[in-house]
Amino acid sequence: MSELQVIGVSKSYAGRKIIDNVSLTLHEGELICLLGVSGSGKTTLFNVISGLVAPDNGEVLLDGEVITSRPGHISYMLQKDLLLPYRTIEDNVALPLLIRGMPKADARRQVSPYFQEFGLDGTQKKYPRQLSGGMRQRAALMRTYMFSGNVALLDEPFSALDTITKSEIHTWYLNIMERIHLSTLFITHDIDEAILLSDRICLLTGKPGRITEEICITEPKPRRKDFNLSDEFLKYKRKILAIIEADRCT
């Protein structure tokens, strides 16, 4: 059971409020997209959730335990894979375990069964630069998983990938989420990606950023192949575009 709760979080930088009273709950196995124009405070919210930044108000709870401004509970993944170039893939994904103080041999043993699962078998002894972009992102996700178990924060993780790799990795991601019981909080500014992946989309709008709208994507998972060409898909997209447009005008 993993449930992430964000309750009434606000944060200002240099007197300017970035996010205001943001609350959300991420249930087990759920994928929530945070969608918003740039500057709406998505990344600030992530920094608060991961414990890197202390919020002015509000709390973050993981399975009911307060983890506000306590790093070391939830990891995240960025557009940059941030794999360390001088460590093999195996040692990169084992890094969170080493940081917890686990001996190297044990850490390697613990990560090894997951290589198959993440489609990275055979890359154990390779260095990151020997892998393709899509594989590196999968390795980065595996590292995130090794760290925080069932909750993953992803900050535009796939935005640097080309369209085909991206659509492949989307399918793969939904698949693996199911298998390893992962809950995901996902930042993106790609509306299509958000509709395709999410159970719920939270729209972060205004300055300071607030969650003003929540849209449930009722299309059952796994989603059909042509979902992104269907009328429902377009309906969602129109609705989101209208909200974002309205936000930009105010």
Binding site: G72, Y86, L95, I99, R100
Partner: protein, 256 residues
């Protein structure tokens, strides 16, 4: 494969340039344009080198010992300073300008002082080499530490890493490249530094040998020792390259 071929061709190019210079030099000497006692021919230099070989080796041993000890101390001090200055911003602000200042003092100018203070034995030489070699290391390694990716540091912090762990997993390995680049410079400084310090006082070493043959106007021996010194520097730099390959295996891996 292609890369190897290219490196062979570039070696051939460099070698043929050197051979060309030697041939021109030999031709000038044989033509009688320059008197033989002023500029010995490469052939004479070679002969001098062979006849003086045991003596040269004996002196080279002393010089290399000084260079090694000096380099080792210089690198250790340089590295520690970089670590401390990276950790404590105040230390960086206070000492960095001072360190830069030490490098504006010409080595030749302080060497006689060092001899007066510390005598004719090894100590003044080692001190001089330390002064010459720590600086590139400090600057290079510090630069390496500071260029650590901010996002990577934050990611490790989010994983709950301590400052020590961030140093161990990100800063230290990230600075290896610039460390070896600096080490290459420092290694060549160390040999030159040893020779210069021997010029100004000492009992043995290639620098002492040099002053002796200069006084005897044996220019052929002079050239022989000059070549030996540059050869030793080259060997040292090559050793640094080998160490780098050994310590940074990820650099040798082929890309996809």
């Amino acid at each position: 494969m292609k890369k190897k071929l290219r490196s062979i061709t570039s070696t051939i190019n460099a070698l043929s340039a050197i051979v060309l210079v030697l041939i021109i030099w030999q031709a000038i000497c044989m033509s009688g344009l320059v008197p033989g006692y002023m500029l010995p021919s490469p052939f004479q230099v070679m002969q001098a080198f062979l006849s003086e070989f045991p003596l040269l080796m004996e002196n080279a041993k002393v010089t290399l010992a000084e260079a090694f000890i000096g380099l080792l101390c210089g690198v250790t001090i340089g590295f520690l300073m970089a670590v401390l200055m990276d950790r404590f911003e105040k230390l960086y602000k206070a000492f960095y300008p001072l360190i830069v200042l030490t490098q504006t003092i010409p080595t030749v100018a302080i060497a006689p002082l060092l001899v007066l203070w510390f005598g004719y034995e090894m100590l003044p030489k080692v001190i001089l080499i330390v002064i010459a070699t720590f600086f590139p290391i400090t600057v290079g390694v510090l630069e390496g530490f500071r260029s650590a990716d901010e996002d990577a540091v934050n990611l490790l912090r989010a994983m709950g890493a301590s400052r020590m762990q961030i140093f161990r997993y990100i800063k230290f390995p990230g600075a290896m490249g610039s460390f070896f680049a600096s080490l290459r410079i420092s290694a060549s400084y160390s040999v030159v530094g040893a020779v210069i310090s021997e010029w100004l006082g000492g009992f043995s070493g290639l620098g002492v040998y040099m002053t002796r043959v200069k006084k005897a106007f044996s220019f052929d021996k002079m050239f022989a020792v000059i070549f030996l010194i540059s050869f030793l520097s080259l060997v040292l730099m090559k050793l640094v390259d080998l160490a780098q390959r050994k310590c940074m295996p990820w650099e040798n891996q082929k890309d996809i």
